[in-house]
């Protein structure tokens, strides 16, 4: 694996394609926050007027299986090659990747093929034999957060809201959490590298908020693959998230901004679980809202929090954040179905059940 030593990582920029993206979805994002992917596509197509293709034939990259060691590297390489084959078939050269595990995995595979051409040859043979497919290597591979970062200023120009507390006029205080596989494996694949990541803070600042640093900013959320997947080991996951919450608590953040589908879900759910275990709430009214880059971009652009972005799928209520920004929304629409009819609602939302 090659890693370039940059003198000033904090100023480092990576190459991000401008247009014509082949979209690769995330298993975790589709399950937990499908609205984030929908709003990402809409922002690209309807606000930024870019071409992006959502191919029904692409599947999991099997990255979670790979990092939990049930999928061999050879299989993972062939799965990645199949995604590239679909991209090639549709005439695209730029991948837009929704998932951080996939993003790290694609980069690992591309780096391996560069250093060990025989692995690329073996993968070509495997894919051809298994599916009859061939493929080209993408010219550009960007994570969805890279693309939002790249167009953050255009988004700011079109924004309906700014990340400013409408009562006090102060910028909202936002902490970020970068998924480990975004840049820890290949720092040169991330905006600002791994240690000085600007990919999320750049958005926060462009949209009027204040990016707040905190000591454990770079610490893992604790997913740990096998550590969350196997129930017996979940204490590993929750302990790591707890370490992060303890570290950000003194700064009283208005929200947590993430770029990884898994981290986004864990930082949301573990606040609830910790409150149930310890009786402790780490911030906000009943927990700190956790939003991804797509969700936050959607909010500032004026998309509907429920129907367009699907923020009702978060355990931690986002309303305190919406109210601070001054987002117009209909609270009665939160738990409604396709035709706006009330479904029913969760036993409770946030960290702790409200006492009447």
């Amino acid at each position: 694996m090659e890693t370039k030593t940059k003198i000033r990582w904090s100023e480092y920029n990576k190459e991000i394609a401008d247009n014509k993206f082949f979209y690769l979805r995330s298993c975790i994002r589709q399950n937990f926050n499908p609205g984030a992917e929908k709003v990402f596509l809409s922002i690209l197509q309807n606000k930024l007027r870019k071409e992006v293709y959502d191919d029904p034939h692409h599947t999991t990259c099997s990255g979670i299986g790979y990092h939990s060691d049930i999928v061999p590297f050879e299989t993972f390489q062939s799965m990645v090659a199949r995604q590239f084959s679909l991209m090639t078939e549709r005439g695209y050269k730029n991948c837009a990747v929704s998932c951080i595990t996939s993003f790290g995995g694609y980069n690992e595979v591309l780096s391996t093929w560069k250093e060990f051409p025989e692995e690329l040859e073996k993968t070509r043979e495997n894919l051809l034999k298994a599916t009859g497919r061939t493929f080209e290597i993408p010219e550009n591979l960007s994570h969805a957060c890279d693309i939002i970062y790249h167009f953050r200023k255009e988004i700011a120009t079109q924004a309906r809201y700014r990340l400013i507390n409408k009562e006090t006029g102060e910028p909202l205080k936002i902490v970020d959490h970068i998924g480990c596989h975004y840049a820890k494996i290949f720092p040169e694949k991330g905006v600002g590298g791994s240690e000085y990541s600007r990919v999320l803070t750049g958005m926060i600042e462009a949209w009027g908020g204040e990016a707040v640093d905190y000591p454990e900013r770079r610490h893992c959320c604790g997913f740990g693959f096998r550590h969350y997947l196997v129930k017996n080991n979940r204490s590993y996951s929750i302990s790591n998230s707890r370490k992060k919450f303890e570290s950000m608590k003194p700064y009283q953040p208005d929200m947590i901004l993430t770029n990884c589908p898994g981290c986004n879900m864990f930082l949301d759910r573990w606040q609830y679980a910790l409150a149930q275990i310890e009786g402790k709430v780490y911030g906000g009214e009943n927990g700190i809202p956790v939003l991804s880059h797509e969700e936050l971009a959607g909010l500032v652009l004026g998309y509907d929090p429920w129907k367009d972005i699907g923020l009702q799928m978060h355990q931690i209520d986002v309303e305190p954040l919406l109210n601070k920004i001054g987002v117009e929304y209909d609270p009665k629409q939160k738990f409604t179905g396709v035709r706006g009819q009330y479904i029913n609602e969760p036993e409770f939302t946030g960290c702790l059940a409200k006492q009447d």
Binding site: C27, Q30, T60, T112, T131, Y236, Y272, K307, M313
Partner: protein
């Protein structure tokens, strides 16, 4: 069973990528979240593999130790020698499963649970995770909002514009039989299915060794699963 371990480790290109020349500095251990949580030291993993001591490597393959890593790859960023202990771990885990050494440790045995969940999802749905596989009773940490989503699955996903089990593109669309068939073929040709079968084979042997059998003396994998969950 445990012969030529060095050679077998070196046959994996990832070892070359993950281990160049470890100088035993311990920076990886200082940054490692697993080292903070478990009795785990990525520095000693790098040193042991670098030493080539077959006995010590065999001991590692049979230990809980190699299963403690959380694969965050924080070690890669900080290592002054550009090593990646997390990647060395991936190579060790693969060999541990191929040789059957994984069933000798509690953490290693858990691989069976992952094959039966994530492994099955991959080939059945074409996704690592599917909402129907996230049953609230076994995922209490997912909380009341997930329970609400789960119990009103069709309506909630439709209301946020997902295409759950539908045709065409979109979130959680049904992966067609033809595409699933391509996945199966990839797993067949590139060794994915073989790894599933290897994990299952050794797990069955362990179940028999533990006396977790049916009336015919065959491994009872339901009982084995319960055993693993309570181990």
């Amino acid at each position: 069973m445990y012969s030529d371990l060095n050679q077998r480790l070196k046959a994996d290109v990832r070892l070359e990528e993950g281990l160049q020349a470890c100088m035993n500095c311990g920076i990886c251990t200082a940054i490692c979240p697993a080292a903070e949580f478990y009795e785990y030291d990525p520095r000693s993993i790098a040193i042991t593999v670098q030493s080539g001591n077959e006995e010590k490597i065999a001991a590692l393959l049979q230990s809980d130790t190699i299963w403690y890593c959380g694969q965050c790859m924080s070690c890669k960023t900080r290592c002054p020698r550009n090593n990646c202990p997390g990647l060395i771990i991936s190579v060790l885990r693969k060999l541990s499963q191929e040789t059957g050494a994984f069933i000798k440790s509690r953490m290693g045995r858990q691989q069976y649970l992952i094959v039966k969940t994530i492994g099955a999802n991959l080939l059945q749905f074409g996704y690592c995770v599917h909402p129907t596989s996230l049953v609230p009773a076994t995922h209490p940490e997912q909380g009341p909002v997930w329970r609400w989503i789960y119990e009103n699955m069709q309506e909630v996903y439709a209301s946020v514009g997902a295409n759950l089990d539908g045709d065409g593109p979109g979130a959680l669309r049904k992966i067609s039989d033809k595409d699933l068939d391509e996945l199966h073929q990839i797993f067949e040709v590139s060794g994915g299915l073989k790894l599933y079968q290897t994990i299952e084979y050794f797990s069955q042997r362990k179940a028999i060794e533990l006396g977790l059998t049916d009336p015919n003396g065959e491994a009872d994998m339901e009982k084995y699963t319960q055993y693993l969950l309570n181990e």
